[in-house]
């Protein structure tokens, strides 16, 4: 009997813990949909300038680590007095994921090719990467309080632009961003299956 519900972990804020249950559910479903995918399909692009599934999976890991670092205040103007946003991001991603902020290769130039470093990655490699990201952010999310969720965070973007987001929006964005690329991954799988039909 298919049952659709969410197992909400115990956290300081119900709202933040619910987000974690939701993104874990998305990840579980994504992994089900990717079961058996080959390295060739992970590295396949419909045409130059378009993302591969491998790039999207790397991007998902990078983005969730990034936004939770933003929520934690690591990209506020005050926190960046001694180092630039790019340096902080580089350090954060290398420490947590073992890849840098640009290693997803996104955004690709119009005629760009997928990053060579990902060419040999297998599905197991990407699962490990996403697993590392999730373990890292889960600990942070479960420590967020309701007050934290309502808080607004100022951010200096990697290009130096100043923006502000509420932590509630950040949680929403990490989820909808994940879902959006998940939808694109499903689309790419169809395109890969159809690639010889013309």
């Amino acid at each position: 009997m298919p049952v659709y519900d969410l197992e909400i972990p115990r956290g300081r804020s119900h709202e933040a813990a619910l987000f974690l249950a939701e993104i874990d559910d998305q990840t579980r479903r994504l992994f089900q949909d990717l079961k058996g995918i080959t390295a060739a399909e992970l590295a396949w692009s419909p045409k130059r300038g378009q993302n591969t599934i491998g790039m999207l999976l790397t991007h998902l890991a990078v983005v969730e680590v990034y936004w939770l670092a933003v929520a934690a205040g690591r990209f506020t103007p005050a926190a960046l007095k001694k180092s630039g946003a790019r340096d902080v991001a580089e350090q954060e991603f290398r420490d947590v994921l073992g890849v840098g902020p640009d290693d997803d290769g996104m955004p690709l130039a119009k005629n760009g090719l997928p990053p060579a470093a990902l060419a040999s990655w297998t599905y197991a490699d990407y699962r490990r990467l996403l697993g590392r990201a999730r373990v890292h952010i889960a600990a942070q999310v479960l420590e967020l309080t309701d007050r934290d969720v309502a808080r607004k965070v100022k951010r200096v973007r990697l290009n130096g632009e100043h923006t502000a987001q509420s932590v509630r929006w950040i949680l929403y964005h990490v989820l909808e961003h994940f879902s959006g690329h998940y939808g694109q991954i499903l689309l790419l799988r169809h395109q890969y299956a159809d690639r010889r039909k013309k």
Binding site: M1, V3, E161, Q165, S179, H181
Partner: protein
């Protein structure tokens, strides 16, 4: 420091008028993802909305209509725990008019042929109004209650709760938003 006019501020503001804070946040999220959908489709012509990349593949218009249909259905059978959904009564189109899922060699549904963006934006607005109405009186105490659907022809039974229904509305719309953005790049 940039001037205030250049600052980008992103917030989810729980919508007022709901019994449950959790529901108010989710409704705000559904509203925001709808805004993103309409923004992503803005400027597209009726021909572009009806363009099919290959037989059996969805058009941008089909995706937009499908989101509206799915949300009204979830609103009826999950949030309101009704036996059936009244898609025609809410949206003015039938449940099958989104054309999804298309057969492997299927062509887009005739009902959507030639429809411009305001038609699809209106479907999304109607769906959101329906969701808001279905959510207004929901309390936290009913979000985790099991809703058991009538058996399907194969005998299987699906079980939902309202919390999942609200989450599904957001991730479902966001997933198709991602596809819409990707398909735009393929437009001839």
């Amino acid at each position: 420091m940039n001037s205030p006019a250049q600052r980008i501020v992103s917030r989810i503001v729980p919508e007022p008028g709901f019994r449950s804070h959790e529901v108010a946040v989710k409704v705000a999220e559904v509203a925001l993802v709808h805004e993103q959908l309409v923004q992503a489709a803005s400027g597209l012509s009726a021909a572009q909305l009806g363009w099919q990349p290959a037989p059996g593949r969805n058009t941008l218009g089909m995706l937009l209509a499908h989101i509206a249909v799915a949300e009204v259905h979830i609103g009826c059978v999950v949030l309101r725990a009704e036996r059936d959904s009244d898609i025609m009564g809410v949206l003015g189109i039938r449940m099958d008019d989104d054309g999804m899922p298309l057969a492997a060699d299927g062509t887009p549904p005739p009902r959507l042929d030639g429809e411009p963006l305001p038609f699809f934006a209106d479907l999304l607005e109607r769906a959101l109004a329906h969701t808001r109405a279905a959510c207004r009186e929901l309390g936290d105490d009913v979000l985790g209650l099991e809703i058991v659907r009538p058996p399907r022809p194969d005998g299987s039974v699906r079980v939902f709760d309202r919390r999942w229904g609200l989450y599904h509305m957001v991730e479902h719309a966001a997933g198709h938003l991602g596809q819409l953005q990707a398909l735009k790049h393929l437009l001839p």
